[in-house]
């Protein structure tokens, strides 16, 4: 059996998206051209823009197509070190950025880079469930703060943030509000007006669309400065000839999400609770990570002390199951998941964590298969582990 439980990493193309993109494969015109070929491409791009805007409650000219969620996040953060009067009058004096310790690396590494380029960056702590500390935010906010950037749903543990409240707090102190909603859009309802954000990031490949395309919502009238310059595309907000096929795919992907999202939440919740119950019953000494309630219903993060995550991932892979891990060994760095560490999970638990993320194709049969394979995989790894030997770290707990 082949089981793909890694939908937070990426998703397969929706068959309807694939169909629409395949049919449009002949469309090659440059949307900037005035002739028939160009106008055809332009019409498709604008149609997709309308769909994306409609899906998040924005107007069409508030949606900028970009190359990825990472690019959208880089664009927003980079605004705040722009020293040019031409781009963002009024905000350039406010060069402090507040974000959290559990953001995606594209936010954290960009922030670190900006700190070297003159910005001040402050990182909010999170509690043991991954919720941002709003008291600390209150203390950090001041007239030096230009931007608050907090992700809506965390990719590793699924914890949801109260973006509405955070945006309100940011605005009261005169700062702009950005949310990286890459993991939230298409999973939970997202309305930019309800959230009250100025910028919001979307990625296509997390919602059964193609890779290499994303969208950035920029509220009308918000100061803006392009990351990629040298063209009038996207009304001068993102140079480079549009990825027409990708954009079309993104448009179709949000359209399909609009039709299929309803009820999915309950289906995921049932599968997630079956997974939790099964894991709890069949495996000793386990710890669930993330918020027990206020979390994406498709995401389950669990730690198995005494078993290392990359080993778990690869043994599961041999049995046809795909998950991801917070272990250092799988990340290429020496540190385990920064998200788990920020929630106060110790390094060993972080090394021994896996993330199961469900998608529209996931079934209860797959959950049962997982619950069959996972316990014997963990037993096998723990039997060869030093953690449970006499005098070992977990000798007493079993």
């Amino acid at each position: 059996m082949k089981v793909y439980f890694d939908h937070n990493a990426t998703t397969p193309l929706h068959p309807e998206v694939k169909k629409e993109m395949a049919e449009a494969m002949e469309m090659f015109g440059n949307p900037s051209s005035m002739h028939a070929w160009g106008r055809e491409a332009r019409a498709n791009v604008e149609d997709a823009r309308g769909k994306v805007a409609g899906f998040i409650g924005a107007t069409q000219d508030e949606v900028v197509f970009v190359g990825s969620g990472s690019e959208a996040n880089n664009t927003v953060l980079s605004l705040f070190v722009c020293a040019s009067n031409m781009c963002i009058p009024g905000t350039r004096m406010r060069s402090t950025i507040i974000t959290t310790k559990i953001e995606h690396p594209c936010v954290l590494e960009t922030s670190e880079c900006l700190a070297h380029r003159g910005a001040r960056v402050k990182y909010l702590d999170v509690d043991r469930y991954g919720k941002a500390d709003l008291d600390q935010l209150e203390e950090m906010l001041g007239d030096d703060v230009g931007l608050v950037s907090v992700m809506m749903a965390n990719n590793e543990i699924g914890t949801l943030q109260d973006i509405q409240t955070i945006a309100k707090m940011a605005h009261e102190s005169g700062a702009l509000m950005h949310t990286d909603a890459v993991q939230a859009v298409g999973k939970v309802p997202v309305d930019v007006n309800l959230l009250g954000v100025d910028f919001l990031t979307i990625s296509a490949h997390k919602i059964y669309g193609p890779k290499g395309v994303g969208a950035l919502y920029v509220k009308k009238g918000t100061p803006y400065c392009p990351l990629i310059r040298g063209g009038h595309q996207e009304r001068g907000r993102r140079a480079g000839t549009e990825n027409t096929l990708g954009i079309l795919g993104l448009g179709k992907a949000v359209e399909m999400r609009g039709q299929e999202m309803e009820g999915e939440d309950l289906r995921f919740a049932a599968m997630k609770s079956a997974l939790k119950k099964g894991i709890e019953e069949r495996i000793d000494d386990i710890h669930f990570n993330g918020h027990p309630l206020d979390s994406l219903s498709n995401t389950l993060n669990v730690s198995f002390p005494g078993a290392e995550g990359e080993a778990i991932l690869l043994y599961l892979d041999l049995e046809g199951i795909a998950v991801s891990t917070g272990s250092a060994c799988a990340s290429g760095s020496l540190d385990p998941s920064h998200v788990l560490l920020a929630t106060g999970v110790d390094a060993e638990r972080a090394h021994g964590s896996i993330r199961i993320s469900l998608g529209r194709g996931s079934t209860m049969q797959e959950v049962e298969y997982m619950l069959d394979v996972l316990p014997r995989t963990i037993t096998r790894i723990r039997n060869m582990s030093t953690a449970y030997i006499k005098g070992g770290a977990h000798a007493a707990s079993r």
Partner: protein, 203 residues
């Protein structure tokens, strides 16, 4: 280039990961002649090696292990346990991480550090055998030598930094802060950097 569906690891490594050899069953280390343990769970790697030794010939007759770690860690301890059987204690003591990696058909650079604990644990098992048999004089400790007096950085720290990816003196400084005060140790540090790059990565 990776072919579709191929692992980042060699076939040999995959084989030892899928069917590890000589895993120590149960918990009783008393039936072995030497026990060695290195690493810790917080760092993501811990290995224990136990050996049985023929007293007459000092040949290792059995070697078993337990490992907490990733696929490279599991496979490298497994293959190490196969390599040392039939070796004398002196021969086994000489095994380097490079020998283990070679036997495994190579390891990706970022995985070398996952395999270095096995041979360390083996050496500590051998030392443990000497102690248990009243041959304390044969115990060889791997003593660290301080290279940078100001920051108190040892040759072991430099080796560790190389395994973590430092390739240039600047990267070494980023990892260890070596030579950031008086700077007198630069020449020695650079030559150790080259030495460990050669030992572990053959460059």
């Amino acid at each position: 280039m990776l072919q579709a569906g191929e692992w980042a690891y060699s076939e040999k490594l995959k084989e030892h990961f899928m069917s590890p050899k000589n895993i120590m069953q149960g918990e009783n280390t008393d039936e072995f002649d030497g026990v060695g343990m290195e690493g810790n769970l917080q760092c993501g790697d811990q290995m224990m090696v136990v050996i049985k030794v023929d007293k007459e010939s000092e040949v290792i007759t059995d070697c078993q292990w337990k490992t907490y770690g990733c696929a490279s860690a599991i496979a490298s301890t497994s293959i190490l346990s196969e390599m040392v059987k039939g070796m004398t204690l002196d021969q086994a003591f000489q095994i380097s991480p490079k020998d283990v990696a070679k036997e495994l058909g190579g390891l990706p650079d970022n995985k070398i550090h996952c395999s270095v604990l096995g041979d360390k644990a083996l050496r500590s098992a051998i030392n443990n055998y000497y102690v248990r048999n009243g041959m304390d004089d044969r115990v060889r400790q791997e003593q660290a030598k301080t290279v940078c007096q100001c920051m108190s950085i040892t040759d072991h720290d430099i080796e560790e930094a190389v395994l973590e990816g430092a390739r240039t003196y600047f990267e070494l400084q980023e990892h260890t802060k070596i030579g950031t005060v008086c700077g007198q140790c630069k020449d020695e540090a650079e030559s150790l950097l080259e030495k460990f790059k050669h030992i572990h990565f053959g460059v």
